[in-house]
């Protein structure tokens, strides 16, 4: 008995759906999820991957079937049937993709809203203490202040920022903190919806420059070359650039934001998994663009606090008091003796120090 073609179509349809659903969840194409936002993005991607797999298999299947079934047989020089179109069919294949893309748009809109993309004003409610604004490297946070600094004071502030002083010279475009006019602060991804009422637990100012990232923690004044974040706490990253456009990207967080000179852009997120991840510059910034990467360490709040304390010892002083810049000023002390009080604060034993020095 011949099986009717409608049965075949149904069976192929069911098989196609199952394969698509399976592959949409098992594609193994994305890295680990290390932020709360990442799981939202991955849910969207998995849905798109499911639909895409179905469409891909339909198109390739029809192509392969046509190639096999409708190839010209030898000595057949006649033309095919004169079918010019089929209006209901054309309406169907216009409507289905339209519904699919509208559905994906609505889903993306929802995910974007969940991630806090439409929360441009809530960030201004976050308190920024006057002390935090005067901290080294915290100059970008000043733009959040309700009373904007005058051009003169911001210029002074800019020149005094030790975090970027080393790279600022006449040849390079100076860091600009306070451009005239509106739109200088472009909040892009705010806190997730349920966290919008709360201020972020931690703020970090990030400056991109050729070819490094500088992270400043305004609450403590610590300036570092790698980013440490406590797990499970919402963090706001204020991003700007010194010279050319860079982009802050942590693949495991699924978040990316351009660092644009003359602008401050902000993203908020909550790291959800401990680990060390690569922080990559994703916007072409010069020949050594590929080398511009550092790491993000997501750690337990206690470990983060301990790390912060070590860093404070190393970086709270201004440059002329820094121990590295002023070695062994009392000549009677050996370097080990001179460093002993500092290394004790940093949690380094004299033995370790001795090993490093020799």
């Amino acid at each position: 008995m011949k099986i009717p073609s409608s049965i075949w179509t149904l069976l192929i349809g069911i098989l196609l759906t199952l394969v698509s659903l399976w592959y949409g969840q098992n594609h193994n194409l994305l890295p680990a999820e290390a932020s709360e936002e990442a799981s939202l993005v991955d849910g969207l991607f998995n849905t798109m991957m499911t639909i895409s797999t179905g469409i891909f298999l339909i198109v390739e299947g029809v192509l392969i079937y046509s190639v096999v079934r409708y190839r010209r047989r030898r000595d057949d020089d006649k033309d095919g049937p004169p079918i010019h179109g089929n209006v209901p069919l054309e309406i169907l294949w216009t409507a289905i993709p339209a519904i699919i893309v509208i559905g994906i748009s609505v889903y993306s809109f929802d995910v974007y809203n969940e991630m806090g993309g439409f929360n441009p004003h809530a960030i201004h409610q976050a308190p920024v203490s006057p002390q935090a604004m005067k901290m080294p490297g915290a100059a970008f946070a000043a733009t959040l202040s309700t009373t904007p600094a005058t051009a003169q004071s911001s210029l002074t502030q800019q020149e005094q920022d030790p975090a970027t002083a080393a790279v600022r010279n006449a040849d390079q475009i100076p860091q600009k903190q306070n451009a005239p006019g509106a739109g200088i602060v472009s909040p892009t991804i705010g806190p997730t919806i349920e966290k919008q009422s709360k201020p972020p637990a931690l703020q970090v100012n990030v400056t991109g420059l050729q070819y490094a990232w500088i992270f400043t923690y305004p609450e403590t004044g610590v300036t570092t070359g790698e980013l440490h974040l406590p797990v499970g706490q919402q963090v706001r990253i204020n991003i700007t650039a010194n010279d050319v456009i860079h982009a802050f990207w942590v693949p495991e967080f699924r978040l990316k934001q351009d660092a644009i000179p003359g602008r401050q852009t902000e993203i908020s997120f909550t790291p959800s998994k401990e680990g060390t991840y690569a922080l990559i510059c994703a916007e072409l910034c010069g020949p050594y663009h590929g080398a511009m990467r550092t790491q993000v360490v997501v750690e337990k709040p206690e470990a983060f606090a301990a790390w912060m304390q070590q860093q404070q010892v190393a970086t709270t002083q201004t440059l002329d008091q820094a121990i590295a810049a002023n070695p062994s000023s009392p000549p009677e002390l050996t370097s080990t003796e001179f460093l002993a009080p500092y290394s004790r604060d940093m949690g380094i034993t004299p033995e370790t120090l001795h090993q490093i020095h020799n």
């Binding site: 991607f45 991957m49 198109v59 054309e90 974007y112």
Partner: protein
Amino acid sequence: MVQAQIQQKANIAAEIDEPGVRKWWEYFTFNTDHKVIGIQYLVTTFIFYCIGGVMADLVRTELRTPEVDFVTPEVYNSLFTLHATIMIFLWIVPAGAGFANYVLPLMIGAKDMAFPRLNALAFWIIPPAGLMLIASLLVGDAPDAGWTSYPPLSLLTGQVGEGIWIMSILLLGTSSILGAINFLVTLIKMRTPGLGFHQLPLFCWAMFATSALVLISTPVLAAGLILLAFDLFAGTTFFNPTGGGDPVVYQHMFWFYSHPAVYIMILPFFGVISEVIPVHSRKPIFGYKAIAYSSLAISFLGLIVWAHHMFTSGIPGWLRMFFMITTMIIAVPTGIKIFSWLATLWGGKLHLERPALLFAIGFVGTFVIGGISGVMLAAVPFDIHVHDTYFVVAHLHYVLFGGSVLGIYAAFYHWFPKMTGRMLNNFWGQVHFALTIIGLNLTFLPMHKLGMMGMNRRIAQYDPKFAFLNEICTYGAYLLAVSTLPFIINVIWSWMYGPKAGNNPWKALTLEWMTASPPAIENFHKPPILATGPYDYGLENTSEGVPLSDTEPVLSASTNSVLRANPDEPYPAIAAETDER
């Protein structure tokens, strides 16, 4: 009698008895014949394609290993900048213009383009602009800020190289604008009597949409680049934040052209595929009007999606959502085209031995991957993750290589007999096709995963964990380089010694096949006649067709009538609607 014979019989009068033949040296002159200019375009752009391809392979050689060990990072940046600029502005865009130049006047039964001298000028701008761009390598200061050339980076890298790049793009843009005006006027004013818009071959519709897009968007790029040149040479600060400028404004101006440029690069080849598939599967195109108007829809929508390249640039949330939705909607007219091509293939008699059809089928099969990843990229939350990564590189190469370049090859195999009067070798064409499809998927498929896992683009060194997939990509790129050899040898050999093609080797119905191969210098002796529509294949298969011997034309005014007037009459009545033919 099949439709092609009817169409040919009706157009015997249009053939020129003793077509003049062009001398070889005429192809090196400021000739105003659209066929000479078309071949000048195609040969020139193919040479640039080879140069751009060598650069791509140098880039891939550097990326074979994670370390910087083949060229210096500065040279590496110059290589990918030049590769992209050459492939876009000196290969795909002018190749589309080249085919349109050759085929479009023939398709509409015209003797030449509307403005022949302007046409020659548009071509002759290209070689100096291209040579200038490549010469920047010899100066030792090649542009190295990427083909997007975002300030402030482009203002800080070499001034000479950046200046050469701007000048070269301005010249090529001018050439493109001149060509677009010419195509539009030719299409509107020069159609043979009785050839209405709805009888135009779909390639003409595609060129109409493309030319409109070029005219609207290219001047904005020119404006952006002139402002950039002022910043570069005159010390103004349009895009320089130090003086109150804004680098993001440049991105808007750049992408206002450069996203439509994507459609400028793909629409002509959508048109080519709409020509190739019906001819070689011996079936009318499915949904003529849907395909024709979807070209216009893509052209319009293409103008309002540009900021999807800037989702991470700090643009406001509502703007991101607006551009996400417009970008998503573009998938609908594109989908209409894909499904219409599939329906055209369905039930036809596919001449699979012909490389033109193979490349057209390959086009549909690989372009759909680029289309799907395009919809994914439109979704803002996902784009934020993969923007500026190898996922984007994979997407754009599936669209531009798996789409445009396969379309260019389909067009070469389809129209080569018309252009030269000789047939290409089928076997080497099949080898070329197989190598190209394997090479292309080997090179670009792994890049999807690389991008999502965390490999950013435009880097000379990368995380060693990506080494394996990158090595596959590199070998794929070498295979692609090898795959062009059968094509080049086939073309050169067939051009000189290939078997004669005859006027209409594919038994096609469009008017370019109703004259000699290669066509006479002024194309047609008399204005050609449409005895049948451009895609009316298989009408002889219908049972109620009115026999040609019927002397009562009134009887033939039914759906299945194949011919309703004496072919010897110069202007037979032509049904305006496909259904009435």
